[in-house]
Each structure stands twice: as structure tokens, then as C-alpha cells.
Symmetry: C2
Subunit: 320 residues, 2 copies
């Protein structure tokens, strides 16, 4: 297992600079008053293709040799990683195949195709996905870019917090949502080297709290098909992200689905930005852990903005 | 009638700097491809109190003498001007009264009160509003700050385009929504002096197109209770805004309500920002006037972000 280094992050930063936005940092006096903290929202919802995953995907794609690139890239994802890999491949002008469950929302398939990738459908089961994906790779020779358990992806995600410590002075803490742990691992990689005094928190939906339980247990725990409104955070930790999480994360905090939706609406209303339910989990946990964050300068990573405007969670009736 | 000058705008800029945001300019490759233009979105939805009107209101409030300020300010508004005047008065720590129709949405009354103003209700008619407002002024001696037909307000709104020409090089045109014409007049004031080659367009809902008809007729036409999804743009031009509009605006373009809603959704989806229907009118007109804007560098003013998230127009059934 190759562990990405600070040099890998620095190389990623140079490599992806032409293809990603240096995203803005927004603040809200009202949210500061509500939490007692000074919050700095790093807006990766305004990133290319609408999510931080454009960073890791671009690093993987632009790090390929010409021979590798000619065969293209492939992944399986029903979320932002597929869209962002499609975006990055389009930027380099190479083929991209994304294996998606037949049952994935049409809007998500359209988003992946919108940037030029081919979508290959599988049945909504792990066995079907693995079989179909193996066929794709056998047929194309494409390079597999895992959504998070990949050193190139983690080095790419680490460029986000490298920007943050340039944009925001004297941070006390950074908090990011955790699913598979790609963003949190990139944050650990960068901050443990460049700003080791900044505490790193991860925020997780209570209804998919496998990372929190892994953290407490000291080994990876993976849940079978958790269900939460924060649908970008369903996947479990893997070896590489576990390496970073167990070494550098101060704590993993959780919030319930209603708390997540309330925090999401608060950000939409007060900060006037469109973001996914997953991106609201950090604020939801800050609101219920005032003792940890009050008086602190806290960087909050808004991870993505790809939400179905026709199905906003506050229009979906009662949450479970 | 006092016509505000470039010096008034410059004085406003200095006066309000501590109380407003220098708002960011966002771009979208996809929207550029769709329109054939290079669009630069000036995000006044991210302004203090959620709208550009914080500029004019702050200029009026902070330009008062201490004796005037002690008696406070007052206005009638069921929209952003009331909220923003409340914000500005709160910043200076002086009383503010906003006369609002009894029938105005609770959320709007709450927003005005949220920044500290007193709300006085009237019946939803011009005669009741004027009678109640006269009582308020008689009782308090408060300074009336009109939502747009006021030189202090227009000078304040003019600071927005002063920022734009610093933030965006070589603009060919600027386009802003038009209701009463405060923002458009401020834009005329600033650009006619500092960047006279930049063409100024106004964008208006077809269902409330009194400014367009005034522009064509050569005199002010006021409609009786127009109805459109762009509910920030219902009011007519007045003498002071007409002065600027007739002299410096190149054209007033219109869009239908369904076109406005489509443009609004496009911006939410692609640019990940929350903005009002009124703010979508410029993009709606750009999309249908490709011949005017293609190949041009166009500044688009996103005027405000105070929208009811529980009543988004694409969830309201058929538009009229």
C-alpha cells in the first residue's frame, strides 16, 4: 500500500491548477452568532463539476502516462466521483467509462454523460457491479480510479486544505464530512505536515456512522446499505483512508437526518449557496457541539453542490 | 430634484465600506457555452442582508447627521429594501420603522424584525399605506428613505458597478433587472462617468414590462398591480430613476415567467447559488437575445437571494 506524501500533494496542486477552481471562502455573521464560533466555509460546491472530487480525479487523470491515458479511465460511482472523473477525462480528451447501477437517478447518469463519459449500467448489487466493471477493464484496458482508496485521489483532495490555510489565518480546526474518507484523508495529509496544530474533525450522519464506530473500535467497520439523506456518505472506510483517519483525526461527530436537513436549509437561507445534504453534516455537528467549537476559528468544507432541485429534502414529507 | 453625481457615489463607497461586502464575481463555462457570451455574475445575493439594497440603505443611514439619526429612519416596503434599511439602521444603532401590508408573508416581516426594525402594518392598498406611513413620520420624525427614488440610495447602488469594473476587465455590457430602477440608475451613474463604453441593459419581466414601455414611449408608464414570479420588480419608475434610464440605458429586454423560472433553475443548478426569481431575469433575456450578447463580455448583476425555500417556483404547479 503506497501512502501519498506531502510531495505528492504539492505535485497534485501544480498538475491540477489549470483544471480546477481555487474556490472562495464565505462567512456568515449570523451563523457565527448562532454557533459562537468563527466559521469559514470553503465552497467546493462551487468547484468544477460541482464537487471537491474534481481535485482527486484531475490529479489521477493528468498523472497518467500518454500510453495509459490513451486507454482511458474507468470507475464505479453513482455520485460525484463519476461526474468528476468524466469531467477530468474530458479535460484531457481521453475515454472514460463509469459503471452505475441501472437504478441510479437519471439526473446522475445525465451528469456523467454531460462531461463526455460512457455510462455502463449494472444491477444494483456489489456482485453485478464488480462483474460488469471487470468486463469494462478487460475490454478497454482503462485505468481504474477508485473514488477514495487511491493515493492519487487523496493527494488531489489534499489540495483543498492547502488552499484553506493560505486563505484563512490562524485556523484552530477544520471539519469535513466523512463517507469513504477521501477528503478527510487529504486534509490529514496536508495539515499534519503543513499546519499540525490545526485539529481535524470528521462529521458523519448518525444513520451511517460506520466511520465513527470504526474510529472508536480501532478497526474498520463497514455497514450493509445504510440509509440517510446525506447520500454522498454511504460508503465505508478502506485501508488507505483508515491509515489517515486513525492517525490524524481528533474526533468523528454525528448528526441525525433532521439535524442535517435543518443545517442544510440554514446554509441555503443564510449563505445563499446550493449544496448537498452531505455538505451540511459538519454544520449540523457544530450546532450540537458548542463546547468543542465556541471561540474557535473553524474551516468547514462544503463538499459539493450537486443536488436534485426537484427533490429537496424539506419537500419530501417526514424524515425517517 | 437633486441628481446624484459621481462624487456622491465615491463618497457612498467610502461611507458604506465597513458595512457591506465586496461581493464575489462568479463564472460558469457551461453558461458561457450556452449563451455564446462571457458572463460575469456579480453576486449581490451574497451581500449583507441578502441584497444589493444594503448598499443604498447603508449610504442613506450613515449619511444622516447625528440629530437626524437620533430620530431614526422609516420606509414602506414589502421586499428587500425594508430588510436592508433595518440592517443598516441596526449597524448604526438607530430606530427604524417599516410599514408593510398586513398581508405580506410572515417570513418577510420576520426578516425585517430580525435586524431590529419595528414593523407597522397597513392594509394592502396605496391609500392605507400612505396614511399609516404619514402617521409614523409624524409620530417619530423619522427620515424617509425611499426604496429607489432617492439620490442617496442611487449613489449607494452605484457602488456595485464601481466594484465590477475593478473586478472584471474590458466589460462590453452590464445587465441588471429593472423594477423601480434603483440599481439600473446607480449603474448608469457610475458607468456613464467611469466606463462610458460599457453598454447598459435592463431586464424586465414581460408580465410587468412598464419600464420597457416607458422607455419606448419616452415617458413614465405605471401599471396597476402587475403580477409576475419576479416579485421584486413590480414597482414603476419614478422621476429620478427615469432621468438615468432614459439617458444611459441601451435597451430594456423582457422575458416571460416560464423563461425566468427556467433561467433561475439553470443558475441554481449550474452556479450553485440561491437567488431570487427577479435576479434570473437578466440571464433569461440573454438566452433569448443571443445576437446582442454573443462574443461579448457581459456583467450580470444577481440582485438578491432572499427567496422562500418552501415555495420555490418550480414546485408551485403551472405558471400563469
Amino acid at each position: 500500500m503506497y501512502i501519498p506524501t506531502l510531495d505528492d500533494m504539492k505535485a497534485a496542486r501544480e498538475r491540477i491548477a489549470p483544471h480546477i477552481h481555487r474556490t472562495p471562502v464565505l462567512t456568515s455573521r449570523m451563523l457565527n452568532e448562532l454557533t459562537g464560533a468563527e466559521l469559514f466555509f470553503k465552497c467546493e460546491n462551487l468547484q468544477k463539476a460541482g464537487a471537491f472530487k474534481a481535485r482527486g480525479a484531475s490529479n489521477a487523470v493528468f498523472g497518467l502516462t500518454d500510453a495509459q491515458a490513451a486507454r482511458g479511465v474507468a470507475t464505479h460511482s453513482s455520485g460525484n466521483h463519476g461526474t468528476c472523473l468524466s469531467y477530468a477525462a474530458g479535460q484531457r480528451g481521453i475515454p472514460c467509462t463509469v459503471v452505475m447501477p441501472r437504478t441510479a437517478p437519471q439526473a446522475k447518469k445525465d451528469a456523467v454523460r454531460g462531461y463526455g463519459a460512457r455510462v455502463v449500467e449494472c444491477e444494483p448489487s456489489t456482485s453485478s457491479r464488480e462483474a460488469v466493471f471487470a468486463e469494462v477493464v478487460a475490454e478497454t484496458g482503462a485505468e481504474f480510479v477508485h473514488p477514495y482508496n487511491d493515493p492519487r485521489v487523496i493527494a488531489g483532495q489534499g489540495t483543498c486544505s492547502a488552499e484553506m490555510i493560505e486563505q484563512i489565518e490562524d485556523l484552530d480546526a477544520v471539519i469535513a464530512p466523512i463517507g469513504g474518507g477521501g477528503m478527510v484523508s487529504g486534509t490529514c495529509l496536508t495539515l499534519s505536515n503543513l499546519a499540525p496544530k490545526v485539529k481535524i474533525y470528521a462529521a458523519e450522519p448518525a444513520q451511517a456512522d460506520d466511520a465513527m464506530r470504526s474510529f472508536k473500535a480501532g478497526h474498520i467497520i463497514a455497514d450493509d446499505a445504510p440509509k440517510t439523506v446525506a447520500d454522498g456518505l454511504l460508503v465505508p472506510l478502506k485501508e488507505l483512508t483508515w491509515h489517515f483517519v486513525q492517525r490524524h483525526v481528533t474526533d468523528i461527530l454525528t448528526a441525525s437526518d433532521p439535524e442535517i436537513v435543518e443545517a442544510m436549509k440554514l446554509i441555503w437561507k443564510r449563505m445563499k449557496i446550493v449544496m448537498e445534504p452531505s455538505s451540511a453534516v459538519p454544520l449540523a455537528t457544530i450546532l450540537k457541539n458548542r463546547d468543542i467549537f465556541a471561540g474557535k476559528r473553524v474551516g468547514v468544507i462544503i463538499t459539493g453542490g450537486n443536488v436534485d432541485l426537484d427533490k429537496l429534502p424539506w419537500n419530501q414529507g417526514e424524515l425517517q
